[in-house]
């Protein structure tokens, strides 16, 4: 024991050095059992009234989604407003919108894990859940856009009596693979992260049903170091796998557009621009959800102003990247020699049907986040919440601007047309919000919203040498006094 202490004495622990001490990730010196109690308490106690006030309308809206889908399948996609030349209307706008939102979760889990950003621990669980629910909402659109929903299995390469195989050279097929892989890997990542916390829930459960269900899904986790060491390796591997994956998914989604020849879509800037936009919109949605959750369930000590500050900075960064992409698109259309491209952007920003949408997008996505240059604004939760919602709206407008404006007026005047969504599309979009919120509220109700074991791991006393250092410090102080 003394051997270790003397060894540690030579290495100066960062927290010992004055001046560079980091802001703690959990405020008020909370203990491990406080963390367990607070997070598990959300699930174990009755839900606050506001939960029910949100849940009931959300479920009703989700029901509307179900109704519109039944109507769609029984009648046909003609009930939507999209038709030639704008064959891709709100269905694809909303698909890309939701998929984009689904990027923050895995980004927080994977990229921030690999870059050792320990502040991720308080928000990763909820944002991973949000990712899954957003991808579920996104997946509805292409699934039903095929028209004959019962033939949707044709998207998968299965041997069949028609001897047909998918066209693997098509970006739409890449999309199927990218989105389904992303969903599957996100579920695996989320579930593996949940196992230790489910064990905590199991060990605290009082009713038989809870003991059974949490016990079942905790798989008999015993938290032994002989398990943890493989677990940590597995988690690291998944993070390393998900990092390129999350970048690939929205790149592939952008290929749907970029590999076509439609002016306004056919640009090489699309993949990085889409990925930045997805991270941007995803973080905005995380903030939109986590700010109320934090307040409602008293999680201020774990989701601290520092977390919000960091996320606001990421929004500022990615928003500026997106702004750069917007301006670069305009510049290239001016600078390039492609007449059709020039016309497309002329219509987009000056005289087209949808110019208003372009400026909504530009204001929400590029101008509004610039307020985050000021630290004071990043600390003001109302400002952060409002800007996050501007970004949510702005990212939807971005997809709207890209999709219908480009195809509504392309090469030939004979192909020009105007697109406006039908009432079914509008209700369907609202319905996906209902589905998303109901799933998220159910998640709050039944699963630990913060990764308990991970938050414990970032406490100062979780370091196995913490008490050694405390001892050294005490000894030093005694020596000084002596």
């Amino acid at each position: 024991m003394s051997q270790t202490v003397t060894n540690a004495e030579h290495n100066v622990h960062p927290s010992d050095q004055e001046g560079i001490a980091r802001e703690p990730l959990v405020l008020n010196n909370r203990s491990m059992s406080w963390i367990t109690n607070r997070i598990c308490g959300i699930v174990e106690n009755r839900q606050p009234l506001i939960w029910w006030i949100l849940f009931v309308p959300s479920v009703l809206l989700a029901g509307v989604l179900g109704f519109t889908l039944v109507y769609l399948v029984s009648t046909g996609v003609g009930i939507w407003g999209n038709n030639q030349p704008v064959a891709w209307g709100w269905a694809i706008v909303n698909f890309v919108f939701w998929i984009g939102i689904g990027h923050a979760g895995t980004l927080i889990s994977a990229i921030l894990f690999l870059t050792r950003q320990k502040w991720r621990t308080s928000v990763n669980r909820a944002s991973e859940a949000m990712t899954l629910f957003a991808v579920v909402c996104a997946g509805i659109y292409p699934g039903f856009h095929v028209g004959r929903f019962w033939m949707v299995w044709f998207l998968a390469p299965v041997p069949n009596a028609n001897a047909i195989w998918q066209n693997f050279k098509s970006p739409l097929l890449w999309d199927v693979f990218a989105v389904s892989t992303y969903f599957t890997v996100s579920v695996i990542f989320w579930y593996i992260g949940l196992i230790p916390d489910l064990a905590t829930m199991r060990d605290r459960a009082v009713t038989k049903v809870r003991k059974f269900l949490y016990g079942l899904f905790a798989l008999g986790w015993r938290g032994g170091n002989r398990q943890w060491r493989h677990y940590e390796m597995g988690y690291l591997l998944l993070a390393a796998l998900s990092t390129p994956l999350v970048l690939s998914v929205h790149s592939v989604v952008s290929f749907d557009f970029a590999t076509s020849i439609v002016p306004g879509w056919h640009t090489t800037i699309f993949p990085p621009y889409f990925v930045a936009g997805a991270v941007f919109g995803g973080f905005a949605m995380v903030l939109t959800l986590m700010l109320p959750v934090r307040k409602l369930y008293g999680l201020e000590d774990m989701i601290t102003p520092k977390h919000i500050d960091n996320m606001a900075k990421i929004i500022l960064l990615t928003g500026t990247i997106v702004g750069y992409a917007y301006i670069m698109e305009l510049f290239i259309s001016y600078y390039g020699a492609n007449k059709f491209e020039k016309d497309a952007f002329h219509l987009r920003i000056l005289s087209g049907h949808y110019t208003w949408a372009y400026f909504c997008m530009f204001f929400c996505n590029v101008i509004s986040p610039q307020i985050f240059w000021f630290a004071k604004m990043r600390k003001n939760l109302w400002v952060v919440f409002i800007i996050a919602n501007f970004v949510n709206a702005g990212m939807w407008f971005e997809r709207f601007v890209i999709i219908p404006t480009s195809v509504s007026m392309d090469f030939l005047p004979g192909q020009w047309g105007f697109y406006s969504p039908s009432i079914v599309e509008k209700w369907m979009f609202l319905g996906t919000f209902g589905l998303f919120l109901s799933l998220f509220l159910l998640f709050l109700r039944f699963l630990p919203v913060i990764a308990i074991s991970e938050v414990k791991g970032v406490l100062p006393e979780s370091d196995p040498h913490h008490h050694d250092w405390e001892e050294i410090k005490a000894r030093r102080n005694a020596a000084h006094r002596g």
Binding site: P159, N160, A161, N162, A163, I164, G215, G220
Partner: protein, 253 residues
């Protein structure tokens, strides 16, 4: 607290894996077998208004397919015979005019009969091309594809049934390897045709005529090959310049 889960649950995962694997195998096997036209269509044998016996007419009496299905060489659609065609032989004073099996025909044709309605015989369609697929009979029978390739040995059927799957892969199989099915044009309706029946000399003379090559050269080139269907089909494919389309728009127009 005691263990909530009893001991036997520890063996559950392994058992579950084995069961799921077995079940998955069985289900995919069943689906692969039952959910294809090989199972769902082959063997379809509806009852017809008149129990017309193809084996009697086409085999014993030696009638040609085209006596009844008369437009198959001119039309994309192979017609069913008009009732008049049956009436030609089964009319009053001819072959078995009073057979009870021909009741439906008399209702359609025999104006003197009390049962006369004038409604044509309602044959039940067995082979049906879906609306989204374009199929042209004349294109096939005029280029060496026999009836038997898609309809089976109808000349031996007492009651006609769906003999081949006629799935898309069935079509594509021939479109990719048409030498497997091509035969001399005069043998199209000979459902019992075999490669051995072909007169070698006449065949090579035909080929020489078509391709402009010498008969002896052709024979010499084939001297070490067996004279079978594949060889005949291959020669015909080359002589007729057969290139069956394989793109989607060939059938889905």
């Amino acid at each position: 607290m005691a263990n909530l889960f009893p001991r036997w649950t520890n063996e559950l995962p392994l058992k579950a894996v084995v069961c799921v694997a077995a079940l998955g195998g069985i289900v995919s096997g069943l689906v692969a077998y039952t959910a294809t036209p090989k199972y769902t269509r082959v063997g379809y044998m509806p009852e017809q208004p008149i129990p017309f016996d193809h084996s009697l007419h086409a085999q014993q009496l030696g009638m040609d397919c085209r006596y009844c299905h008369s437009f198959v060489e001119q039309s994309s659609h192979s017609n069913l015979p008009a009732d008049q065609v049956c009436w030609n032989c089964h009319g009053p004073g001819k072959v078995k005019p009073d057979s009870p099996k021909l009741q439906a025909l008399r209702e359609a044709m025999d104006e003197s009969s009390e049962d006369y309605t004038g409604r044509p015989v309602a044959w039940v369609q067995i082979h049906e091309t879906p609306d989204y697929a374009y199929f042209n009979h004349s294109a096939h029978v005029n280029r060496g594809v026999s009836c038997v390739e898609c309809h089976g040995q109808v000349n031996e059927m007492k009651v006609v049934y769906h003999a081949k799957p006629l799935s898309m892969s069935f079509c594509l199989d021939c479109h990719r390897n048409s030498e497997k099915v091509l035969r001399p044009l005069d043998q199209i309706t000979n459902l019992d045709w075999k490669a051995e029946d072909v007169d070698k000399d006449a065949f090579y003379a035909y080929l020489a005529d078509k391709t402009g090559k010498g008969v002896e050269d052709l024979k010499k080139a084939d001297s070490h090959k067996t004279f079978d269907r594949l060889l005949i089909g291959g020669h015909l494919k080359e002589a007729w310049n057969v290139h069956p389309p394989q793109d989607c728009t060939a059938c889905h127009r």
